[in-house]
Amino acid sequence: MTHGICRRLGVTRLWSLKITGKGILVGVIGTGIDLTHPDLEGKVVATKDLGGHGISDDIGHDTAIAGIISAKGAKNWRLRGLAYETQLVIAKVTQFDGSAEEDVLIDALEWLASQGVHVINFSITSDCVTDGRDPVSREVNYLVQKRGIAVVCAAGNYGPAHYTIGSPGVAEQAITVGCVNNQDVLRLASSRGPTLDGRVKPDTVAPGERILCPRAHNTTSCDIHSDLYGFFDLTSIATPHVTGIYALLRQAFPKATPQQVKQAILGSCDPAYMPIVSRITSLPSGSLYRLQAALKRFFSRKKFDEKHSVGYGRVNAYRAYLKLKELMNVGKT
């Protein structure tokens, strides 16, 4: 997690206000964690292995995610996580190939809730698309509405087609995250909405291109930078940026509900842009008539494409802080 990205997302301005995630407990569901990584040593307060192969991270996926949220920057302060004073609770749910079972995921969500986490990072998605009534999505809605725990979900990497967001990214109460590159242009692989029942998803987008993160020992699922770090990509890596920002906002406003924080995050996004190539590739070749029709479609679909691809835009932590401050003050008066 480089300092440059933190600055771009407005996170460093929150650090200057002493908002660093202190006292916030973040749950991470995924492939386990490398507890020996210097950036994560002492960060993890509880772990549970529901995959049955031990808590160690065989794939490297969730060590990177935990690092984006909470890395201490032990070797280099410029590589610390967005909410570097948070603590972590880790639920491992995957098998060696990264797959997980539906009922195991619900068990993991329940266990994390029982540990008192404030927010859960969920960078796992279903292989097929649902309308949000599947059990995992319902459990996510239940945790947000009844237990006050936010769940931040990856949109998935099945783009550029629409209707490609799986469970639990389609859950109404989840904060669903797509990914952009370093110029805030949507990455082609980022899954797109709407949901099967027509709701806007993803909700927001965050950086997901060559993010420098802690690398679990002996894993090669990234572009290797050094023994301890690697470059990671796409929506699973974009998601913990929003989880980290949620943790910061929750520290700043402990009484805010997950819905209020979500409203603040979505209501304060910076613009994100559509890759021009995704619309050009939908243009058919052929007669002038077909080209005219395609151009008409190109412009009429622009709004639909944008709304259901980048959601409300790219997340901005400082603006979300100001927005939440405003919302909380309105609540008081």
């Binding site: 995924g30 492939t31 794939i59 996926h61 969730d62 995957t94 190939d97 990264g98 797959s99 997980a100 079972e101 539906e102 009922d103 995921l105 619900i106 960078s123 796992i124 998605t125 279903s126 292989d127 097929c128 698309v129 649902t130 309308d131 009534r133 599947d134 059990p135 995992v136 319902r138 459990e139 239940y142 009844k146 990856a154 998935g156 990497n157 209707y163 469970s167 099967l196 699922s221 796409l234 929506t235 699973s236 998601t239």
Partner: protein, 114 residues
């Protein structure tokens, strides 16, 4: 897309085990094409498979007693029960209880987003 939908023709009726919660994928038309016309149920897979059932609490309690199903767990706050059963038994049960069930689907495979 993976084989996530089960759509059968059984005794002249179309049965989709996951409707309406999951979108059609490649498996659905393929299964119905293979099975339609034969008029007979042909299990696509052998052995017992995991399914989720969403229904009201009394309905789930009733289904839990069905000897054809082996209950893995019940998650009452979201009205969901996970069971294992053979496809044939599941299809029969789906037909018997169609009106009472909210959804009845094969457990969806998940994976880490890479």
């Amino acid at each position: 897309m993976p084989d996530c939908i089960y759509h059968f023709q059984y005794r002249g009726k179309n049965i989709c085990l996951s409707a309406p919660s999951i979108s059609p994928c490649g498996a659905c038309p393929r299964a119905s094409t293979v099975l339609s016309g034969s008029g007979e149920f042909k299990p696509a897979m052998k052995g017992r498979l995991k399914f989720s059932i969403q229904a009201s609490e009394p309905v789930l309690a009733g289904l839990a007693k069905d000897p054809r199903l082996e209950v893995i767990k019940t998650i009452s706050h979201i009205g969901t029960m996970y069971v294992t059963a053979t496809e044939e038994n599941i299809v029969e049960m789906k037909m018997e209880n169609e009106d009472k069930l909210v959804t009845f689907a094969k457990a969806i495979p998940f994976r880490s987003v890479r």
